[in-house]
Symmetry: D2
Subunit: 360 residues, 4 copies
């Protein structure tokens, strides 16, 4: 009933608070015989490490993962995989000052309302620190679907209104390693430069920016998705909307379908396959073999240096100015989190479909 | 592993194909003691009945619901509620001609790839006929949360690029009964007239239109949602993206957050509560007591009269012209389906939170 | 959270009350392509029909099943299978007299405590009428595992202390059709005769009897079961203990292991396989390829003609004498219910293991 | 689909192998505000520590638990509780000799068949080492239901055929602390002495013994259990049968019901409540407010010093003599594991019922 597990066959449970001793994940349902090393996971964690980016939080977590179970002689055994990430650079003192205040745009108020009290130290479970566990689990998922030739790549489409000109079709061939060369995980150098400038400027103003991440899935076979409620687009939307700060998810042509005609939007078929891909790789909640294309909108980081109106737990008006160590934009650190969630959903649905396929 | 159940506490399973003997739903986990009559359900089914709308399918289903279990002396008993809707106006013959063709934009191809064969009669389980079962189940969910003063209302925001001018704030007071007076469930008479004209025009051209539905939840208390994966926005996104034809979901400011500053997007708090509602009633995946505001984009109906390129099951090229009885736009019939899915998710999360609340 | 669904991959949900309009089941997760006809189900329902047995309830239900979905052209489609059984011979008037009394040994008191009121008409959902839906669903499960050569057969081992002399090894070859020739589903004619005599005698005395059912699974491959919680013996125990009136479950040597030595109880292996089967076909919660052997103890029917002490809903002392139409012993009608539950669990675990096997 | 999670509301996932770096558990769904310290858990782990018992394994695990999340300022927060137990005294070398042999009575053969290979080091996940994680999680469950006055106590009823004379009624008042004074957790001093003698004798003979554990639940309110599949007796049977080595579970009068009359077995009611308790506290799968009484049979430890016939992975015949560090009987170390599993099931069902109760 509590909601810290995702997936039906490839099941991921995360645990841990921002300022507790550690965060981690348990994966149940990973098939046996998959090669898995700590490096496989470390490599993905590196993508979201704050140290890589100039406008990111100054919090320095080494993010060294320990695999505590489920792997024997370098391969998964089919038993639960437990992943542990110690929190090392914790400065809870930073949060004493705002202990009784609700930070606008944060979960402080709602956590308080839900659980009756709050872990004020760095956002507790609502902190982006928790997403390190998702990225670790996502790395395992990527190994599972990687065996079938499925690859997920996400990149920065826009920040603060500055958007790349490339279409998703032009980004389809992007190598994940190549992308890593740009600290913003943005596939267009000149746009990246403009974005970085805007990030620095906004940081100086004590403000923050939102943006758009685009996610592409390559090599995905047709047949994944479980109507009528666990459709693949439904589960992808859930997994992505459940990342802190994401306020919109669209697939294929997305919101643009609202003003298209059926004759424009339908993807006709020829003997060689689909002739267009407005559907973004998904029809009736099932993959059709085309690339899956998703865009998500991420809101500006709510922690800003500017003064804001708020109240105390007792309802008294206050002004709040947030210090601490924060990013200016969730991008680019949210990019590997998006990849992780998509990897987890695809691993889950891939295994679900494999189970059906043998009957067909 | 199959995906025909939604919800953790208030669990809905739907079953049934478009051209089989019936469709239906089983609800497990409805609390005991809720007043429930067939009329409560019938009233909601009426909202999606094709007969109400000029440009809707000519298929005439009476949609008479039978409550087969779980209700005794007019009240729910806490045991499963089984709802049955017979299919009466079935003309499978209409589909013989396209038996071996994949209709563009439909699930024909993907169902075939997934299950190894297809029920070609009217889309089988991918048909919108299945949503009658969702609306029936949603009516029960509405009764549950209605007791707590929560009400869901959805309406037509745009069709074919023609959009209402009213903001969601101006629609906040809409009565669901009032809305029913307009066949398009559109809260702006002059816009509704323009839309209707466009629908008729598009019908004549053998084409179809997409649109935008806006959904508002009134009276929702703070505290609903189960981080980190079953956040309320995550579950709403899943439930809505899982409705056939929906390609985008956004909450509150939605995709607009991508070019907002943190200082613009954050909702400050005063002693009287939140001062703005860009968050759309949800912070960190938990409701904050403000109205929940959601928009979804629905693609144009894929069944169009114009000729389209497609292939047979054996990969041979064909032209397809679709006859049968179809709507021009999923709007307005999709509107009550959106309401139903939101009602189901809210009932589920309401019961989940009630279970926690007694501890806080 | 409510408990009317069983299984993870092959999921069965039952619904319906004894004296409501119908009972039924929805199966989600049945693989596509399995041949399934109403007769397949009818045949199994016939095994639990009261009319077959002299000491059984006089209630005459035709138990005609209707398959409402999930089957097309004689084969399952992979979508939910909805099964409907109308209640036809309902005489709720029989229960008016005991409306406010708690029948000893029945669920009247506990349902009242749980849900706050009770459906007094024939036990509502606690009635054995609900098991008709289980038997129907079990028939579908049997078709699934039948394709893999797995067969479940249960029979009467003992009633009222009168037990068959045959060991399970001697019953291993029993044909289910052969068994049906004896109304008591007892594989030893002379014991069956003694039991029948005792049943008639006990009926005359207005009393009832308990007994033991033995269940054997033939042809089950090694590898089924999901440690550490969903072990196959754990899930079998749950499925069987969850049948009304069952108070004990044992596997293989069962309770006898308590006074055996390790050297006696261990099953040694030779090149030809296991040399004994004290384990009853299950080691560490996983099938080992040997026959699965289970015994369950069923309590005497609580509805007896003798006067018993009880209380009203308001706690006032009364004597109760139960009329109505009742069996003297749950055996033999519980026998096919045991088979059904074992078939459901095996179908579920068979599909779970098939999903893993392709990786090994 | 994999089976390492138990519970619907109070959900426990265990992970970890006998000879890996650690074992642990994640609990999702524990209510907020419960006082919880490492000592609460440590105290329960102490009950299953081998060092306490002369005939137990010589493996010395300190079993120091670390609470990694979900507790803030001494109280649970409603977020997942992660518990970590490092494996410290691991000697995998002990197992090299039997690396390719299937130990009779163990899971070696079935794990190999299921997953395609095996973790031969001490039984991997099938080892009783995994139960340390269950006991840790059970300690948290006990805190939850302890607030409602529910207490679970288990004790040794019989070992190797030597059984206590006391009835469960005479054991009803047993204090758990008092029980700990006897290393065998046996409530009858003279029987305990006989058992200990038999254990030493059997150890000398290189053999092992089975036994019976009795479990009593005191203070359990009426109303717990979720028909028709998640009945409380069904879930208890599952939880207990899923403990390695348990081959039988019975409730209340148990297997004895098979030769009782209805008039003997039924528990009549008087104004003061139930007059007898043959039902063992459960009617129609729901608790009735009487003490819950359960007995389980545990098979002799399969690791014995005597030579046994077995085969290699390639099917060649061998004799096997098992060294290593083993107990002679799973009793008494299995006793706290039984308690833990019952605590977990009761916490889960208690929370499930609390959620319903507010509606009645």
């Amino acid at each position: 009933m509590a909601g810290n597990t995702i997936g039906e066959v490839f099941r991921v449970t995360t645990w841990g608070e921002s300022h507790g001793p550690a965060v981690g994940a348990v994966i149940d349902g990973c098939p046996p015989g998959i090669e898995l090393s700590p490096e496989d996971i470390q490599k993905e964690l590196e993508r979201r490490r704050p140290g890589r980016i100039r406008t990111a939080s100054a919090r320095q977590e080494m993010d060294l993962v320990e695999i505590l179970s489920g792997v024997f002689e370098g391969k998964t055994t089919g038993t639960p995989i437990s992943l542990l990430l110690r929190n090392t650079d914790v400065r809870s003192g930073d949060y004493e000052a705002i202990k009784d205040l609700f930070r606008p745009g944060h979960g402080d108020y709602t956590y308080f309302k839900k659980y009756g009290f709050r872990d004020y130290r760095g956002g507790g479970r609502a902190s982006s620190r928790e997403t390190a566990a998702r990225v670790a689990a996502g790395a395992v998922a990527a190994k599972v679907i990687g065996k079938a030739g499925i690859e997920v790549v996400a990149y920065t489409r826009a920040v603060g209104g500055i958007e790349i000109k490339k279409t998703w079709q032009e980004c389809l061939g992007l190598s994940r390693e190549e992308l890593m060369k740009n600290p913003l995980l943005c596939p267009e150098a000149e746009t990246a430069a403009l974005i970085e400038e805007k990030l620095l400027q906004t940081k100086d103003q004590g403000d923050s920016l939102g943006g758009i991440v685009e996610i592409i899935v390559r090599g995905c076979p047709a047949g994944l998705g479980e109507p009528v409620f666990d459709k693949i687009d439904a589960d992808l939307a859930k997994a992505l909307m459940g990342i802190g700060s994401i306020k919109g998810v669209e697939i294929g042509a997305g919101f643009a379908v609202a003003h298209m005609l059926g004759s424009e939007n339908n993807d006709p078929l020829g003997p060689e396959g689909f002739l267009t891909n407005h559907a973004g790789g998904i029809l009736a909640g099932i993959t059709n073999g085309e690339p899956i294309v998703i865009r998500v909108a991420t809101k500006p980081i709510p922690s800003i240096g500017k003064g804001q109106r708020t109240v105390t737990k007792d309802g008294e008006a206050r002004e709040i100015v947030i210090g601490g160590r924060h990013d200016v934009c969730t991008i680019p650190r949210i990019v590997p989190v998006c990849e992780a969630m998509v990897n987890i959903i695809l691993a889950d649905h891939y295994l679900r479909q494999k189970a059906i396929e043998q009957w067909t």
